[in-house]
Amino acid sequence: MDFLRRYRRDKVGAYFGAILLLLYGVALTAQWITPADPMAINLNEVFAPPSWRHWLGADQFGRDILSRVILATQVTVKITSAACIFAVLTGVTIGMFAGYRGGWVESAAMRATDMLLIFPIIMLAIVVVVVAGPTETGVIIALGLAQAPQFIRIARGVTLSVKEELYVEAAIAAGAGRAHILAHHIWPNISTPIIVQATLTLPVLVLNASALSYLGLGVQPPTPEWGQMLNEAKDHLITAPHLIVGPAAALVVFVLSANLVGDAVQETLNPKLKKQK
């Protein structure tokens, strides 16, 4: 409650937070709110321009673009949320354990992480998708794995400082096991930077998911995805420019909102940062 009250003070964060919530609402209700069947082909309406029937026009197969953008929102939200959770779970588990255990385990984990960080994120994701296959699960794993190193580093860093705290020593003295300490003493105290990082990672994941599907490595047709729609649209940029409007606008709004919300969350949870500004 206190968080929400403080967050609301940030006007930009509040507005874009509302937009982001709206987009999530669209994603959750996509099946029921699409004006037409996003998959239904109608070859009599190839490249139909925007009209009352098709607000954003129709694509090469006469499919309603607005409906496809809405369904794509659901696909994107599903993939990026799952990838984010995947990255947090694997990253934080490894990072916390490595930081707390120390020794060769920590060295090995951190060197492996450094190795992963050498590669550009999208490159890493492409490799994973090629291996795992261009399915929804494959893309989630690819995007999640590519982001996991960030979380490993942050989790390990804060764990290193938290484990020196007196209450951890007290817990050890009281005979608590490693798992108990990690779950009850370390995690609650390192969660703030992790949450901030997660909100900042979301827009990156959205962009990467779109990039993958733009390259044909994301979810496969007929399931729509913004990147894939943009790829189709670019082939007809001059003949049918209306194709690009919907997916491009959706992508911009989502990424912008997620970024600004991430910043706002960071400032709210980290008041020091705001003062420094």
Partner: protein, 500 residues
């Protein structure tokens, strides 16, 4: 003849190589010099004709190699490296008289021995086109410039005559680049960064035609789209299922939405298109194409084959309740519209309750995936197109539908086998009476319509876009775009602000 005629190495269906030149009658006066920049659509992974008959690769090596005979715009066979030829009465011995004084690029003389080597090697090492040479026994150098081909059975697909002129090529060089994206090729051409390109998106053509510095040529082709049905996979071995798939496809819809209504035409016969020897319109009276779109009929055929939607999930199941789900291998941009056609296939087949999962592979991986034998092949369906560069049905008969042409040898990727098809193919291959041979071809096509070994799709129209200062390059319906004798109008280039 003259020492400026140098030859290079290489070989294909009827040939070997050398660099010669011809001047064609023109209104404008040809100019020497300049570099032609030509953007191709697909990547080439092998330029060796023995292993790659890809039309794009052919388009590259034909700049460096030459054939014994050439095919012109009217699909007539004209002399090239061979001056003339004679055929024995039983059509089992062909003797070619070669041009004299031709040299390969390294200076080795081009002679009968070189020609014989190419063909004997093709047989010994089972080159990709080996099944076309069915009945070929050996090639022998009879004298320095005379080579004889011996066949165990008559080989009917060889023939006529014209004259040709020679000279020095006008261009200094030809630069061939690969640009896989048609939209990018179109804009490069519009900006004048390239001089010519092929495989333009049909929706872009009206715009390019409106541009006065660009010339767009569209010709009907012998290239027909089709979907390989892997007969090793149940139920694709069932003729009713294969026919149902054929009837389920709205071909006119494909032409309209993927090819802008102008980049492809409805096919009138299986595999063989107009312009190919022995072509017969195989449509039933009143129908727009073979296997015209008929959803009701397709559904009924599926039902007859034992496939019905038993659990009301929108997909059909067999009697044991197994859902019919197939994969479809395709490329993206290998042939114009391939990925779009694949998506439509998925949709049309869904209408008869068949789930299709599209697997998009990049060119090299796709090439590897579709060259495997019956036990290794992983595809259920694969989207491909078949062109007939020889404009003779012998090519598909010997390479495509013959049982002996099963991959990995020929190009029978369906693993289709029919005794009747094999019998007709062999008869047509060695029949020397034209009327009889055409009749065999017709029977062969009728048999294909009965068996529906593949899903037959529309026939492509080919296009070539070029800047209007480029003259004397050609587009052939066999999917070749020769320009060895093209020339650039420098003044016009300058006027258009193109300085290279």
């Amino acid at each position: 003849m003259n020492s400026s005629r140098i030859a290079s190495a290489g070989a294909a269906a009827l040939l070997s190589c050398a660099l010669a030149a011809s001047a064609q009658a023109q209104d404008a006066k040809p100019q020497y010099g300049g570099e032609l920049i030509y953007a191709q659509a697909g990547e080439q992974f092998s330029l060796f004709p023995g292993r790659n008959l890809d039309s794009g690769a052919q388009d590259v090596w034909l700049y460096a190699c030459e054939n014994l005979v050439e095919m012109n715009e009217d699909s007539a066979i004209v002399p090239w490296l061979a001056k003339s030829w004679t055929v024995s009465p039983d059509k089992k011995v062909f003797t070619f008289q070669l041009q004299e004084g031709v040299k390969f690029h390294d200076g080795t003389p081009f002679n009968a021995e070189a020609v014989a080597f190419v063909f004997n090697e093709a047989k010994a090492k089972t080159f990709i086109y080996a099944t076309i040479l069915e009945g070929f026994e050996s090639a022998k150098a009879a004298s320095e410039y005379s080579v004889t081909f011996h066949f165990t059975s008559p080989f009917a697909a060889l023939l006529p005559n014209l004259a040709y002129q020679k000279g020095k090529p006008y261009l200094d060089s030809v630069k061939i680049i690969t640009v896989t994206d048609p939209a990018v090729r179109a804009s490069l051409l519009e900006k004048g960064e390239i001089d010519r390109t092929v495989n333009l998106n049909d929706f872009d053509i009206p715009r390019l035609e409106a541009n006065r510095s660009i010339r767009v040529r569209v010709v009907p082709s012998t290239r027909q789209y089709y979907v390989v049905l892997n007969h090793m996979v149940h139920p694709l071995d069932h003729v009713n299922v294969r026919k149902a798939f054929n009837y389920a496809i709205d071909k006119a819809g494909i032409v309209k939405s993927v090819f802008a209504g102008r980049g492809a035409v409805l096919s009138k016969a299986p595999t063989v298109s107009e312009g190919v020897y022995g072509f017969t319109d195989m449509r039933n009276p009143g129908e727009d194409t073979i296997f015209p779109y008929n959803l009701a009929r397709a559904k009924e055929l599926m039902k007859n084959a034992g496939y019905e939607d038993r659990n009301k999930d929108g997909f059909v199941e067999d009697i044991r309740g197994n859902k019919l789900s197939l994969n479809l291998f395709t490329r993206r941009g290998g042939t114009k519209g391939d990925f779009q056609v694949a998506q439509l296939m998925q949709n049309f087949l869904k209408d008869i309750g068949v789930e299709v999962k599209i697997t998009v592979l990049e060119s090299a991986a796709f090439g590897d995936a579709i060259k495997l034998g019956p036990t290794e092949a992983k595809y259920d369906l694969a989207l491909l197109s078949w062109g007939i560069p020889t404009a003779d049905p012998d090519e598909p008969m010997m390479l495509f539908t013959l049982t002996r042409a099963w991959k990995p040898v020929g190009a029978n990727r369906m693993f289709y086998s029919s005794d009747e098809i094999d019998r007709l193919s062999m008869l047509a291959h060695s029949e020397t009476d034209e009327a009889k041979r055409k009749e065999y071809v017709k029977q062969w096509m009728a048999e294909l319509l009965r068996d529906a070994p593949v899903i037959y799709l529309p026939t492509l129209a080919l296009n070539l876009g070029s800047r209007n200062y480029l003259h004397d390059d050609r587009i052939l319906s066999v999917d070749n775009y020769p320009a060895p004798f093209a020339w650039l109008d420098k003044e016009e280039m300058k006027k258009q602000g193109i300085r290279r």
